[in-house]
């Protein structure tokens, strides 16, 4: 079971997370469509209601906090579409999750190639 892996700092998206995060991930999957992104931006609360997000998921969406979104069952591949609404790249969300500045995070990436 992936729930037993316990790799530090490394969420693993298995069956437990897939069940817990289904509504959140389904909403984020809808953000493939430009019209859906616009609908979300126009009425975030109504859009979350439409997809039946749990209170924890709604709070995580409001917070824009990736670690909270993962805790609420979010899968990073779908969360990346949510981040895309705000023009955030995977470096931006990496910096947010690690508590680094964007410049520090980019330096961290490059330093691993040395």
């Amino acid at each position: 079971m992936t729930s037993d892996w316990k790799i530090p700092g490394t969420p693993v998206f298995g069956g437990d997370e897939a069940r817990k995060g289904y509504a959140l991930n389904k909403m984020c999957f809808s953000f493939n469509g430009a019209e859906n992104r616009a609908s979300f931006k126009a009425d975030e609360e109504g859009y979350m209601e439409k997809y039946g997000l749990t209170p924890q998921q709604r709070a995580a969406i409001r917070s824009r906090n990736v670690l909270q979104l993962i805790e609420a069952g979010g899968n990073v591949y779908y969360l990346a579409k949510f981040a895309g609404i705000f023009g955030l790249s995977v470096q931006d969300i990496g910096a947010q999750q690690t508590g680094m500045s964007l410049a520090e995070f980019k330096h961290h990436l490059a330093a691993q190639g040395a």
């Binding site: 700092g9 490394t10 995977v90």
Partner: protein, 289 residues
């Protein structure tokens, strides 16, 4: 008779699409990655493959968690790309090869791989960008017909490295038994090490990536002994995309020649890698005697 002429593997991060759209191929950040395709272009121009079988992982465009196939095979005559939500240009549709797709599907299922066949399938950046990297000037006239094959890397349990190796071997036998006369290149996209999520986000493991690039050439079976947990530990959560490379290598013969290999850190959050292998079935036959 058809012929598997070689294998190409490449990383596939979405920002490659942004770099192409902005003309940043010679920007210092991107140059080492894009330059890796010069020898690939020369090889493609010389060998002129007719078909590309592209093994990749979907990121939430073609498949969703409602029905998540472990292995899926495209069975259409055209595959559309589409908006994935982050603003990279949508590329023109890719021609399929449904007759070859169904031959592969028949063969894989007879070989006990319970795949999902897809008569409609949107291909995401992990398919479209490697095609654009291979054929930057193709416009909408892609010079190869394609068969997309996806491996689940989104939702655990994922198939094991060994299972992906065996899938590749079965794919190779399917392609060898195809009675058409096409020249076929097997393309793997993904990896190498990277992690997008969690407090370890940004993890890259150069030593492991370089080990994989060495083993994939001359000792690919060694890679099949890693468990998925070990691959996540060593290559990061999304480093499991290594599975696509392993499946591609399984489809080639026992012996290959490395035409080109580039490794450069970072592209986006990823250990960026490109490798071109030429198939050497005659060498395999000699070794088997």
């Amino acid at each position: 008779m058809s012929q598997i002429i070689g294998g190409l593997a490449t990383s596939h991060v979405p920002s490659i699409g942004g770099a192409i759209a902005k003309g940043l191929q010679q920007d210092p950040y991107w140059k080492p990655f894009f330059d890796a395709f010069d020898p690939v272009h020369a090889w493609l121009a010389r060998e002129k493959p007719d078909v590309a079988v592209v093994i990749y992982n979907d990121h939430g465009l073609g498949h969703f968690l409602d029905k998540m196939p472990t292995f899926a095979v495209g069975a259409a005559d055209s595959y559309a790309n589409a908006d994935e939500g982050w603003g990279i240009p949508v590329l023109p549709p890719f021609p399929g090869h449904s007759a070859l797709s169904w031959h592969i599907i028949e063969h894989l299922v007879a070989d006990e791989f319970d795949i999902t066949s897809c008569q409609e399938h949107l291909v995401d950046h992990a398919f479209s960008l490697p095609m654009k990297l291979m054929y930057p000037d193709a416009g909408s006239a892609w010079p190869v017909r394609t068969v997309p094959i996806t491996i689940n890397s989104v939702q655990h349990p994922l198939p094991t490295a060994l299972r992906c190796w065996k899938l590749g071997q079965s794919l190779g036998r399917a392609l060898e038994s195809w009675t058409g006369c096409e020249k076929i290149v097997v393309v793997a996209t993904g990896g190498l090490s990277h992690q997008l999520d969690g407090t370890r986000a940004g993890f890259i493991n150069k030593d492991f990536d370089q080990l994989c690039m060495q083993k994939i050439v001359d000792d690919p079976v060694a890679l099949t002994s890693y468990s998925n947990k070990e691959i996540v530990e060593l290559a990061g959560s999304q480093g499991v995309e290594l599975m696509c490379w392993i499946a591609m290598r399984g489809a080639l013969g026992g012996h290959v020649s490395k035409i080109h290999g580039t490794y450069h850190v970072p592209i986006s959050n990823t250990g960026g890698a490109v490798m071109l292998l030429e198939n050497r079935p005659e060498a395999s036959a000699i070794a088997a005697e």
